[in-house]
């Protein structure tokens, strides 16, 4: 069949563009064990670095004696802060405007902190030497409770900035206080609260947890002294930012640094930051002139690299007697650990926590966040979330439930009564955001119908009766959640990381025979960018996705971008891809018009070709145009077919969803069982439904983990209690249910293809759904709120406190 005989539908299908459940191109190598992760990199004469870490949460480092370690055959060097100081590398800037010790400089501030870096011929020798480095510590009082940070007897953690009354985010009122961030109108909100007929209050804690990707963090640094070039491979969710930081820190010109993110074994926010291991590997390679690999183990990963959450959110929500919300007030105490290393856009020290009005039309709101230092690991990354959106969504979705209890109202009805209506978009929230689009009522009603919500409530009521009658020891919980995310950071006017605007980029080259390569500033960690970005482009330029290579992660070849986290790849780099594709098409149109001997305006685009208006038999395919662009002289047009786009999004995107979780709880053992989980996501235009569904399954499972047991817990001495996968909960296939997925499609009005991003929605919406189910199970017995994680003993404790065991 010739190209002319194919129908438009056939030609569209052949592109495997938008809306196609295209199989992933990445999978060939991954299923055959041929992925290339950082620990797979092997170079001649490569050395291995390993850390001496602090056993104490707070201590002075009196001395470090590395003589015994240096005596081990095969040990090349032991670096300490003293060695890094002449290079000004013993401290490094954090993403949050603070600074962080690379190696302990006089004291240690959390258990697992990097104290010395041993460089040896292999990892076995390095580990032996680590054991032989003698560090003399003097223990100091430990601060683990952020609410005790400003008490008179609290130890001062950060002596380096003890006297600084001004931090990166404004005034500091105490040496252990980092910042206060305020949004909204405090006095007006408090006035609403004072006069409202109904006010519900609750302290909502979102516990400390950790992204814990299957692959830990690591890097290989290779300083080529002959050519003066440093190459750094590593687990970087933002390779270009790492390059810029590496240049600023090391003094090596940026063009002489090549940063490569190879395949990454999951990130979930853990691999956004710059870690001491990266810096030490670079220094060690510069010092030794040999490549140096650093790969952390799982315990190091859990105890020293970036944690997530740890927000104590005190809330007040005001409403009329019949449930119309009048105002929202929130004060958050944010435990940031020993250094403020939160990965947030510079102007947002609490990320986008001010999306905490959620899906609701709340006329007045106020938010304050106090950042506090404690003797815990630094971090505060967005674990499968866009900068504290998960905390915000959890907060509002708990507060709605708490309000429903206070009003003695059905929580689904309360939500529907307060949703921002479809006709209110674009909607300006009381805390300053412009929600681009949404249709919450449609999604909500679809969800309630899908699970037979009325029937579930009747069943639940019967179960409560049976329980009270002694017929069962199980309770049923119905967890509702309607979340609104804010992703796709972000507009350069208000979003930057270390000063770099949060645009993203795509560069496309069409080859003479009509295939193409696209390079982006983002980096996939499992999201399938090589598959989906080719689909965006296929629909834009009419070349089959199968004929488009997508490359990311090599700063020598990829255009500058801010990387992949916060569900920003599709909203920002995806937009850049579409825009670059449109530039290709614009040039191609001139070439096609020339080839067809008509004016530019006399042809129109149709799937994969330009067609002369009114003469459908006269056309030039993109493939033909591509060939011509390299082989013919086109007057007034440069040869070749390439384009680049740096896309600065005009706004964030606002994916949303309606989740309903049904759980059965054994009151006596505290065991919980997920009976049903329904997830409706609206991520705007759907690029690859198969991948979207996979993202939802994965995100929900991470939410399940967090809600039901996953935490980074410390004892009163600051010892990490959950430092291995024995205690840090990751559900297996056995604990994980099958999920029902569903969707509505409300395109973003400002995104070139209407897409909004989906990877993080299920974590943002999933956690409240699971937690609300547990809380809801006990509503009939007087429970208002119980904290996560809802592991067996805490559920048992809730039941016990309610007198259900007597």
């Amino acid at each position: 069949m010739s190209a002319a005989e194919e129908t438009i539908q056939e030609r569209t299908a052949a592109l495997k563009g938008l809306g196609t459940s295209r199989k992933r191109v990445e999978d060939a190598r991954f299923t055959q064990g041929k992925g290339n992760y950082v620990d797979d990199i092997k170079m001649p004469d490569m050395l291995f670095g390993d850390f001496v870490r602090s056993p104490y949460a707070h201590a002075r480092v009196k001395s470090i004696d590395s003589s015994a370690a240096m005596a081990v055959p095969g040990v090349i060097a032991v670096l300490t802060a003293q060695d890094l100081e002449p290079l000004s590398l013993h401290w490094m800037p954090t993403l949050a405007g603070d600074k962080q010790m690379v190696l302990a400089d006089g004291k240690v501030l959390f258990q697992g902190q990097e104290v010395a870096f041993v460089v040896a011929e292999d990892r076995y020798i390095a580990a032996d030497a680590v054991d032989l480095v003698q560090v003399e510590y003097e223990e100091l009082p430990v601060l683990v409770d952020p609410f005790k940070a400003e008490l008179p007897d609290a130890p001062v953690l950060r002596e380096d900035i003890a006297d600084a009354t001004e931090g990166a985010h404004g005034p500091r009122r105490h040496p252990n206080h980092i910042f206060t961030w305020e949004q909204g109108d405090k006095s007006a909100t408090e006035a609403v609260l004072a006069e409202a007929p109904v006010v519900a209050e609750e302290m909502v804690y979102y516990h400390r947890t950790h992204p814990c990707p299957m692959e830990t963090c690591g890097a290989v640094a290779s300083m080529d002294k002959v050519n003066g070039k440093l190459t750094l491979w590593g687990t970087f969710q933002a390779p270009h930012v790492v390059r810029t930081v590496a240049s600023l820190l090391s003094g090596i010109a940026e063009h002489n640094i090549r940063v490569v993110s190879p395949d990454i074994g999951g990130g979930f926010g853990n691999k956004v930051g710059v870690y001491p291991g990266y810096v030490c590997a670079i220094v060690a390679s510069i010092v030794t002139g040999q490549p140096v690999k650093w790969i952390e183990d799982r315990m190091e990963n859990l105890s020293a690299t970036a944690f997530a959450r740890d927000y104590w959110m005190k809330g007040k929500i005001a409403a009329t007697d019949d449930g119309k919300i009048l105002g929202l007030w929130c004060h958050t105490t944010a435990d940031h650990g020993a250094f403020d290393a939160c990965a947030d856009p510079t102007k947002y020290p609490a990320g986008f926590m001010n999306i905490c009005t959620g899906s609701y039309d709340i006329p007045m709101a106020y938010l304050a966040v106090d950042g506090i230092y404690t003797n815990k690991a630094p971090g505060g990354v967005a674990y499968r979330c866009s900068f504290r959106v998960t905390e915000a969504a959890y907060f509002i979705e708990r507060m709605i439930e708490v309000l429903a209890i206070k009003l003695n109202m059905d929580a689904a009805e309360l939500r529907a009564k307060n949703f921002i209506r479809k006709d209110q978009f674009p909607y300006h929230s009381a805390l300053g955001w412009e929600y681009d689009s949404g249709d919450y009522h449609t999604a909500w009603n679809k969800a309630l119908e899908a699970v037979n919500y009325t029937g579930l409530r009747a069943e639940q009521a019967q179960q409560v009766e049976d329980f009270k009658a002694g017929k069962t020891r199980k309770l049923m919980g119905i967890g509702l959640c309607h979340f609104t995310e804010i992703v796709g950071a972000g507009p350069v006017k208000n979003c930057d990381i270390l000063g770099m605007g949060m645009f993203d980029s795509c560069e496309i080259r069409i080859h003479p025979t009509g295939s193409a390569i696209a390079r982006l500033g983002t980096i996939s960690q499992g999201q399938g960018h090589a598959t989906t970005f080719a689909q965006i482009l296929a629909s834009e330029i009419g070349i089959s996705a199968d004929d488009i290579t997508v490359e990311e992660g090599d700063t020598d070849t990829a255009p500058y971008g801010l990387g992949t986290y916060g569900s920003r790849s599709t909203p920002v780099a995806g937009a850049a891809t579409a825009m670059a594709g449109r530039k290709i098409r614009a040039k191609a149109q001139m070439i096609a018009a020339y080839l067809l001997e008509v004016h530019d305006n006399d042809i129109e685009w149709e799937v994969d070709r330009f067609v002369v208006k009114g003469a459908p038999e006269r056309f030039k395919t993109m493939k033909e145009v591509a060939f011509a662009s390299y082989t013919q002289v086109i007057p007034g047009v440069e040869p070749g077919l390439e384009a680049v786009s740096y896309y600065d999004p005009p706004n964030m995107t606002y994916p949303f969803g309606a989740y309903i979780c049904v759980m059965d709880i054994d009151v006596d053992t505290g065991e919980s069982d997920i009976r049903q989980f329904y997830a409706l996501d609206d991520c705007g235009t759907r690029i690859n439904p198969m991948i979207i569904e996979g993202q939802v399954h994965g995100g929900l499972t991470e939410a399940l983990a967090i809600a039901l047991g996953q935490e980074i817990a410390y004892d009163e001495l600051g010892n990490v209690k959950t430092g291995s996968l024995m205690d840090f909960f990751i559900p297996t296939s056995w604990e994980t249910p099958n999920y029902q997925t569903d969707f509505t499609e409300t395109p973003s009005p400002h995104h070139p293809i209407g897409a909004k991003g989906v990877g993080e929605s299920p974590n943002v919406g999933g956690v409240p759904a699971f937690s609300n189910a547990i809380n809801d199970a006990f509503r009939a017995f007087g429970l208002t709120h119980t904290h996560m994680p809802h592991d067996h003993w805490r559920i048992w404790k809730t039941a016990n406190d309610l007198g259900l065991h007597s």
Partner: protein, 162 residues
């Protein structure tokens, strides 16, 4: 410390490595034998990323000294199929989107292979129980289970027996 010659049959090839007794099989495979499919995820035998098949058993190679595997037959993900003829499980993982970042995938498929060898007609519950020693952070397992079930179905088709 002196090194010992470790003789193994890996993916049908006789190979040798020199290793101290304390060297873990995963390190010898990855660093000496260039078998980088099996990965290191937890190092405490909880995650299964390092799973290989040794003499017909699924084994976590981070919790076995290479010297203990002396003389054994080892199959890793690299030995299950090849680019010209993928193993059915490899095909089905692709088809059903049973992987995302790919880090757990080699261990997962290697384990699923042994599971199906032992139980060619598993129920969904059998599959979920049988892969409970392999953690995945990306997929929520739903599509992994689907892929394994689909592979079982295909392997049970008479024409699949080559």
């Amino acid at each position: 410390m002196s090194k010992t010659t470790i003789k193994l049959n890996v993916n049908g090839q006789s190979v040798e490595a020199q290793a101290e007794p304390r060297e873990l099989l995963i390190h010898v495979l990855r660093e000496q034998l260039q078998i980088t499919g099996p990965h290191i995820g937890c190092e405490t035998s909880h995650c299964g990323a390092c799973t290989v098949d040794i003499d017909g058993k699924s084994i976590k190679s981070c919790t076995l000294f290479a010297i203990q595997a002396q003389g054994s037959e080892i199959t890793t993900i690299e030995g299950l199929g090849n680019p010209d003829k993928l193993h059915v499980l490899q095909e089905k993982f692709k088809e059903h989107h049973g992987l995302q970042c790919g880090y757990c995938t080699p261990g997962m498929i290697t384990r699923a292979h042994r599971l199906l060898e032992e139980n060619p007609n598993p129920t969904e519950e059998d599959v979920r129980f049988g892969i409970a020693g392999n953690l995945c952070r990306c997929t929520g397992y739903q599509n992994i289970v689907k892929a394994v079930m689909a592979a079982a179905d295909e392997l049970n088709q008479p024409e699949a027996v080559a």
